[in-house]
């Protein structure tokens, strides 16, 4: 199984009736063929970043080998081709997240930059002293700190939706928090620490009743479930390329056109202007107003290849397969004596946080690593979640469509090894 054939299989996978074949998929990922501490690598840290298929690696190589030129400015063929390749990805992303409006897609460095952009630009213009920003206890630090910085600058107030012991949002408490001073609700679509899938459509509808805007952090959702921003009806949506098989350093902010048009620029520089004099400059149209300087052209093209790759498999097939694998993993892990799974939301994605009696998560991580099993340990950039659940840290296994039951079994064996060593 591990004799790698690195040929992309996209063409065959584009057949609509194609059967989901995890064994074939694994061979698309060079890193999954490698060894770690003399064991075949079992990569279960997908919530941190995903591995890259050969198709994405090849797209990056192809760009730098044959297409490299700056975009939006050259009159020569190479630049025109690079511009076309870059702008084609905007269309791919627009279709992938269900907007279809290419000018509503802004390329950024990642989810973190997307949220900072909204907080600085839209927030700076629309949030005043006494206004309320609602976040949740499940948020990643990147959907907390930009709003704190904004609140410190403006005198706005941050309120927090609490969670239950299962790791689900208290929607009753959320409704109590909403009022006429609420300007923004920032909510994660899927919790990176517990896997909870939040009812973002319902949350958005409630916020809109009070005229508040809604930002959805889609870093964990876009790689694992089909996403349609029009259906959610949110106002801002952010995600990262590297968690959906794309390169690092590229991500997407989506927002409605009228909102983007009313927002001031985030950064100044080339490409985002229409005209410049020392007295005054005027801004380019959206999305270019928000893409100052030479963007991550290769990254965007790599993201395009990643979206082609996952849509070639089918997001519906990915979610069905991951759910089945999650069910298997939850059943097996929860059966191990002395292991407790943290978070039990009814709607959940393939993220499994767990703790073991008498063993600190960091020690679990080190011993698993020795068995070639890569998981994340710590607070997962979610210290408020850990404080709420009264634990310092967890061990977290997060699955992707290229994982299989054998990976889960190797995780189970490695957990048994922890018990052997710690008694």
């Amino acid at each position: 199984m591990r004799t790698a054939s690195l040929k992309p299989r996209r063409t065959t996978r584009k057949q609509p009736q194609m059967v989901f074949d995890p064994t074939a998929i694994r061979t698309d990922f060079p890193l999954l063929q490698t060894q770690s501490h003399d064991h075949p690598l079992v990569y279960l840290d997908n919530a941190a970043t995903s591995q890259k298929p050969q198709a994405v690696i090849a797209a990056l190589t192809r760009y730098y080998t044959n297409q490299n030129a700056n975009i939006h400015r050259g009159v020569y063929k190479l630049s025109v081709d690079a511009t076309t390749a870059y702008e084609c990805v905007r269309e791919k992303v627009a279709n992938f997240i269900g907007t279809g409006q290419t000018h509503e897609i802004i390329f950024v460095r990642g989810t973190t930059e997307a949220i900072n952009l909204v907080a600085a630009s839209w927030g700076g213009q629309n949030i005043k002293a006494g206004d309320q920003i609602i976040l949740s206890e499940l948020e990643h630090h990147s959907n907390i700190v930009p709003w704190q910085l904004l609140a410190q600058r403006t005198g706005a107030k941050i309120c927090v939706i609490p969670i239950t012991d299962a790791g689900e949002l208290r929607l009753d408490e959320y409704e109590k928090l909403l009022n006429d001073t609420t300007r923004l609700v920032g909510i994660t679509h899927i919790s990176n620490a517990l896997g909870t899938i939040n009812p973002v459509k319902q949350i958005t509808a409630l916020a809109h009743k009070y005229g508040a805007k809604v930002l959805v952090d889609g870093a964990q959702s876009v790689p694992h479930i089909p996403v349609n921003v029009k259906d959610i009806d949110c106002d801002f949506f952010a995600f990262s390329g590297h968690k959906i098989c794309g390169p690092t350093g590229v991500g997407v902010l989506w927002a409605r056109q009228e909102i983007l048009e009313a927002m001031p620029p985030y950064q100044g520089g080339g490409d985002m202007i229409s005209s410049v004099t020392f007295e005054q400059s005027t801004w380019n149209a959206v999305p270019y107003k928000f893409e100052a300087g030479t963007p991550n052209i290769a990254g965007v093209i790599g993201l395009g290849a990643a979206i082609d790759y996952v849509t070639g498999i089918g997001m519906d097939k990915i979610v069905a397969y991951e759910n089945e694998l999650l069910g298997y993993a939850l059943e097996k892990i929860s059966a191990i004596k002395g292991v407790r799974i943290v978070g039990s939301a009814k709607q959940r994605a393939a993220v499994i946080s767990f703790v073991m009696d008498g063993v600190h998560p960091h020690d679990i991580g080190t011993i698993l690593d020795g068995q070639g099993v890569a998981i994340r340990t710590g607070h997962h950039c979610c210290q408020p979640v850990m404080d709420r659940l009264n634990i310092p840290a967890t061990a977290r296994a997060s699955l992707a469509f290229y994982n299989n039951r054998e990976d889960v079994d190797r995780l189970l064996d490695a957990i048994k090894k922890v018990r052997e060593i710690f008694g």
Binding site: V359, P361, H362, I367, G370, A393, I421
Partner: protein, 150 residues
Amino acid sequence: MSDHRELYQETILDHSRSPRNKHAMPDANHHADGYNRLCGDKLSLYLKIENGVIEDISFIGEGCAISTASASLMTETLKGKRLEDVSPLFEKFHNMVAGSVEKIDDEEMLGKLLVFSGVREFPVRVKCATLAWHTLQAALKDNSKTVSTE
């Protein structure tokens, strides 16, 4: 090496399961808090120093096996030691766990602390082993602020 028994030696497991000197000390005359952001380990260290001698030393806190065992073995080692002996010992200990010297010298001086020699193979765990010692330095300076291993 792959089963990590080199790191998790029996003495370390023993001290992490049943840490020595793990209690608060109301009449301590030196105290500091330590924090390891990577693992979320928190440690409070208490010392009673009389005439340049560590008469008593204890700690409380939660952490991984390496950091708990390190705090436990450090307190056991330092009880009754003169203050001027602390810095040279920490230097030897740090060199051993950080792998900054080729060969561990002065094994006699390190004594039981030699069980941490396996840490040098695990660069991300060095901070776990040194948290107690960094906190000790802060306590001896009478620095009541929280120290971090960052």
